[in-house]
Symmetry: C2
Subunit: 334 residues, 2 copies
């Protein structure tokens, strides 16, 4: 398993062509470093020898690794793999490598992983913080040595942030259901400390305040078990009084749909439900869901990482709505 092929370094190539390593280096860096014929010979010999360059040596010299760290709170939430995929594609296109780490929903693990990533000398760190408050110090610390970009979630600090327009996303769900005649709204899937969850709840309250004063009493704050089961007690109290549910994830949306149906309510006739992130779960369970513009987010993240200027929408990227059976809406949507 050791490297059989004997190392072919820049010196091997230089010697074979009969020039200095400096010349070979210039040629490969593209900065028109040598004469026409020499350049050709170098390229030919290098490819014959299978010279690939040594990125470690280059990094030591240049103090750059062309590698970024990506730290997500939980790989098991299908939104993150989807986001990672978009970012990975964009980064690879720019010649950047992706060191992945998972915080496992723990601020402690998160701090530890940040350390590990910095020790590996990543050029920048892309992070979706576990907690809006408790993740702050670790991130501020990282900010002292690398570029940090927060994506999806944020932790109120000096690092850049790339995310969607939370107000618009909630509005999308609300308006869609209002057009269907729904008037009594509920909110499910609040997760304390998760910035996106806090934002969505905040806008839900703000936007329903005038149209449905009772909405603020129909908030589901806690779920149970793996599949985010909806507590019976909550349904006892609210199922009759609501006809539309806004959620923070497809998982909770599906659970809500199942729980309601088990109790004899029909979805969407009695209660309409909108999920979030448009994962496979939503497709399979026929749940209307809010889709984040993953490629736009990835592009923005990449721009920050690469130090490129890129005009971002001030309030975040707009989402779109994918309409399915759980709202049975057929009306067009923006």
């Amino acid at each position: 398993m050791r490297n059989d092929k004997q190392r072919v370094t820049i010196r091997t190539v230089a010697d074979a062509v009969g020039v200095s390593t400096a010349t070979v280096s210039r040629v490969f860096s593209g900065q028109g470093g040598a004469g026409e014929d020499v350049t050709q010979r170098i390229f030919r010999v290098a490819s014959e020898l299978g010279y690939r360059g040594n990125s470690i040596a280059r990094s030591l010299r240049s103090q750059r690794t062309d590698t970024v760290g990506l730290l997500v709170p939980n790989l098991l939430n299908p939104f993150f793999p989807a986001l990672i995929q978009a970012i990975e594609v964009r980064l690879q296109a720019g010649g950047l490598g992706l060191l992945l780490a998972d915080s496992q929903g723990s601020v402690g693990v998160e701090a530890q992983r940040i350390r590990a990533l910095l020790d590996r000398r990543v050029d920048s760190l892309i992070i979706s913080p576990v907690d809006q408050v408790e993740s702050r110090t670790a991130i501020q610390e990282a900010l002292r040595s690398v570029t940090v970009v927060q994506v999806d979630r944020q932790a109120g600090n000096d690092a850049a942030y790339v995310g969607v327009n939370h107000r618009q996303s909630v509005e999308l769900a609300l308006n869609h259901m209002r057009q269907l005649g729904r008037t009594r709204f509920a909110f499910a899937g609040y997760d304390a400390g998760v910035s996106t969850s806090e934002e969505r709840l905040r806008w839900f309250l703000e936007l329903t305040k005038d149209i449905d004063p009772g909405a603020s009493t129909r908030i589901l704050r806690e779920t149970v078990g793996d599949a985010d089961e909806v507590p019976h007690e909550w349904l006892d109290r609210h199922a009759d009084g609501m006809d539309a549910v806004v959620t923070t994830s497809d998982l909770i949306a599906v659970s809500m749909q199942m729980a309601l149906r088990e109790r004899g309510y029909s979805v969407p006739e009695d209660v309409a439900i909108v999920g979030f992130d448009n994962t496979r779960l939503a497709a399979v369970a026929q749940i209307t869901s809010i889709q984040q513009p993953l490629d736009d987010l990835a592009e923005a993240v990449a721009a920050k990482v690469e130090g490129t200027r890129l005009e971002l929408p001030t309030d975040g990227f707009p989402c779109t709505l994918v309409i399915r059976h759980s709202t049975a809406g057929s009306s067009a949507d923006r």
Copy 2:
């Protein structure tokens, strides 16, 4: 965003303590390189200065990066994030970093990513090949310079392989449904070229040969669309003649369940269904599913990567069955 904190190198520490860099290096490598008091001073000063070592320089010297590349065929298949998570945890525990890449289901992208990973000088490559045949050459090529471990899928080459016992996994599903009195089996989710899919189909045929000769005619080879929709035509032909379906993924299992219910069949009464990978999809849709021992796989992969000897089951790791409503089985299972 540049590194504000001025670099503190091993020389900084050495000078502050008044010893040579070699001594500091020895102390940090643990190889009892210095006297009691000197060792203490070095540790104290180093931590005061916030010395973290430079992994790039170390790598250049040692010809190791303590980083492994992980190449998966598709991040959107929820099995892979789950596997990645298990591997990430195990690798981090061993001080190894994880460079992630996604083949996007394409052999071409896969070959390209392997290149990129090797150029970054990963110590080893963990890969789940896109295609059982077409991935071969790229992997063989990689094998010439690093340790390669195939996981889940394989591509018939000289690289190590870590995976489950395919025969046992199919048996698990079949036996469970036989105990429930089912006799007419079908197989759904065959994906040509994917080694795991080929293996499962092979064992399905082998194991049903004697108990249900008709099984070999009830193979669903092609699906349509995002949610792996089951073709009407296939259902027309087989729905009446089967009472148990073995699948290769939870997604196809859920789709099968929906398609059957839409046609008025009941699951599990008329047809029992077993999914694969026990993802959230299975939990939510109440599908009985086969669970792979992810931690065992991760452990085995890590052992190969770290060069540790570890006794592996000859035919692969055994899976377990998580019983839910789609088979409504209550009988105990091994």
